[in-house]
């Protein structure tokens, strides 16, 4: 344990500051890369016309957004809510087509979104508030422990979803034939995020200092949330693979497909 640093009038520990700094920079970078990608995608979509046969909107992001809103507003408010709940959140169209694929989608999507939001909530509230503002270094590890069942549940959901995606490609001839390297890269990314996540979580929660010391660059006496290069790797990798990479990859459908469903009034029946 090194001497504390004085930041915003609070004393924090060096090792925590280094962790926090890496995470904060990574998160900001990931969000910037993500937003830049989204901006470029919106510009691409803005090359299209507002209505069929009309002139190009010359890559205007604003024009695209107006076109999209105009299309969505063709339906009544209650219908849009119905589409949002049934087709976007509950993926009714996939459910009708293939129950196993639906289950896989739901597991991956909600496992991933849930973990992302929970991590963000814990980091910003307990880590930022607890350590930096309330100066309570117990609050953060306690939060991790308290939320462990939720983290476990979401992680297992994600794991089951990935296992199904993997299994379908191993055992279904058709799915395998229709998959290409992009699918495999994405599955590999997900596996890496989940596997490293499980281990990182184990490291965070363990009180066994010897286990932590194996992977930790810094000595620490609190629960293993900080000063651990493996958990840092997991967090930084997840941010870049699962956030920044979205607009540049097949993951883009996670954003485009709900918008397409909304724009088409729930899709053709």
């Amino acid at each position: 344990m090194t001497d504390g640093l004085l930041i915003f009038g609070k004393t924090i520990w060096n090792m925590l500051f280094i962790d926090w700094r890496i995470m904060a920079i990574s998160a900001v970078l990931a969000v910037i890369v993500f937003l830049l990608g989204i901006y470029l995608q919106l510009k691409k979509w803005g090359e299209g016309s507002r209505a069929y046969g009309g002139p190009s909107q010359s890559g205007s992001v604003w024009a695209f957004l107006k076109t999209l809103v105009h299309r969505i507003r063709k339906e009544s408010g209650s219908k849009v809510i119905n589409i949002l709940v049934m087709d976007v959140f509950l993926q009714r169209r996939t459910f009708k087509a293939d129950k196993l694929r639906w289950f896989m989608h739901i597991c991956i999507l909600y496992g991933w979104i849930g973990l992302a939001f929970l991590s963000m909530a814990v980091t910003t509230s307990y880590e930022m508030y607890g350590v930096f503002i309330a100066n309570d270094h117990e609050m953060f590890p306690n939060a991790w422990i308290m939320l462990e069942p939720a983290f476990d549940f979401l992680s297992y959901m994600l794991l089951i979803g990935i296992a199904i995606a993997f299994g379908r490609r191993l055992f279904s001839k058709d799915t395998r034939a229709f998959s290409d390297e992009t699918d495999w890269i994405l599955i590999a990314l997900l596996i890496l995020v989940v596997a490293s996540g499980f281990y990182a979580q184990y490291l965070r929660e363990t009180t066994d200092i010897t286990v932590r010391m194996l992977t930790s660059e810094y000595p620490a006496e609190y629960y293993g949330s900080f000063g651990n290069s493996f958990t840092i790797f997991h967090e930084v990798f997840s941010l870049f693979a699962m956030v920044a990479y979205i607009p540049y990859s097949k993951f883009m459908h996670i954003i485009a497909s709900p918008l397409a469903i909304l724009a088409s009034g729930g899709g053709k029946k």
Partner: protein, 437 residues
Amino acid sequence: MKPSMTSERFTAVQLMELDACTRCNECLNWCPVYEEINTGQFTPAELPEGRTATEQEALAYSPRNRIMVLKDFINKGYGWRARLFGPKHIPEEDILKFKDELYHCTTCGACGSVCEAGIDTVEIWESARANMVINERGPYGKQSGFIDLLKSYNVFAADQKDRLCWIPEDIHVEDTAEVGYFTGCTAAYRMQKVGVATVRVLDALGIPFTMLGEEEWCCASVAVRTGQLGIAKEFVDHNVNAAKKKGIKKMVYACAGCHRTSIIDWPKFYEGGELPFKVYALSEYLCELMDEGKLKPEDFKFKNSLDKVVTFHDSCHTGRHVGIYEQPRRILELIPGIKLVEMERNRSYQRCCGAGGGIKAGVSDLALKLAQERVRDAEEVGAEMITCTCPFCRRNIMDGINAMDTNVVFEDEMVLLAEAMGLDLTVPQNPYTDKNM
């Protein structure tokens, strides 16, 4: 540098839809063209002779791949790499290969109906075709002949003055009326029995109606489906203005192709985007009258029992594209003696007969194979007769029947209705009598 494939004719939402594909592959389970190619029933002319398509070659003709290739082309011209480093060149042979794949599609819409991302695939195919035509890469094969034919304002290069030459003398066509009957080129020149049946039914039910006659030009479906949009606005404006002059408030159609084009495509070309009349499939109009109590089942005054096991083939155009599934069945169920059975693939899951999307003219052997599949669907459920509300499906399915050893026959729904009502379906002698199908 200009992108090798431009975004012309694509709407902003369509460009977004290209990124929405989750590659779930559901569309592959329903695309009739992919099925024919993948099972070796049909081999595109572009593939080496003497063998069927490999799994990967067949995949190139699937809706999913078409979306992926199109997305890739657009990304090369406008994606993030193109924004940062300039558009990437796409070899012309790659674009032409894609064009061939794009035109091997009946625009049936099955892929769109099952698409998990809600992508309006048919509109994307048609925008892509229009893009191909603008850049002088499309259309495909004989489809380019449509524009020459349409110089005479109908697809048969027939005389417009003869548009109503088949109307029986005792049928009164109003000069102006609230209801208009849009005949379509096929019923006017090649399937006049369908036209006669339609006017007889309207007349017998006491529905006053008018027709555009010489002023009825082709609905422009063949041009729109194949991406040749140059003439579309002129044709649409002409027809809509002619209907306005006749005081038409409700236009009824016994041709699914004209119906779809009028309700979905005409507003895209007509100034202001809103037609001054409501567009109805004839069965839909009759059902509306019944629902309003203005028409009762007994008004049909049926005289004949048809005593047949009949199956209804939903045309892609009135079915999947417009969403009319139940009304034609309600009308059929009124007909005495008809036992209605459903084919396994019906309503939004229907299997396309293969006539649409320019396939009949562009890839006629594929159209024939698809028609035969549909006849087999009917045989499987023990149907003796297939009926439909589309003269174009009628023609293709009958070609399929003629090429097979089957007892299944085909009849148009309006003809069945008129026969059951005991109406005279004699088509008066006219210059097209010999050309009737």
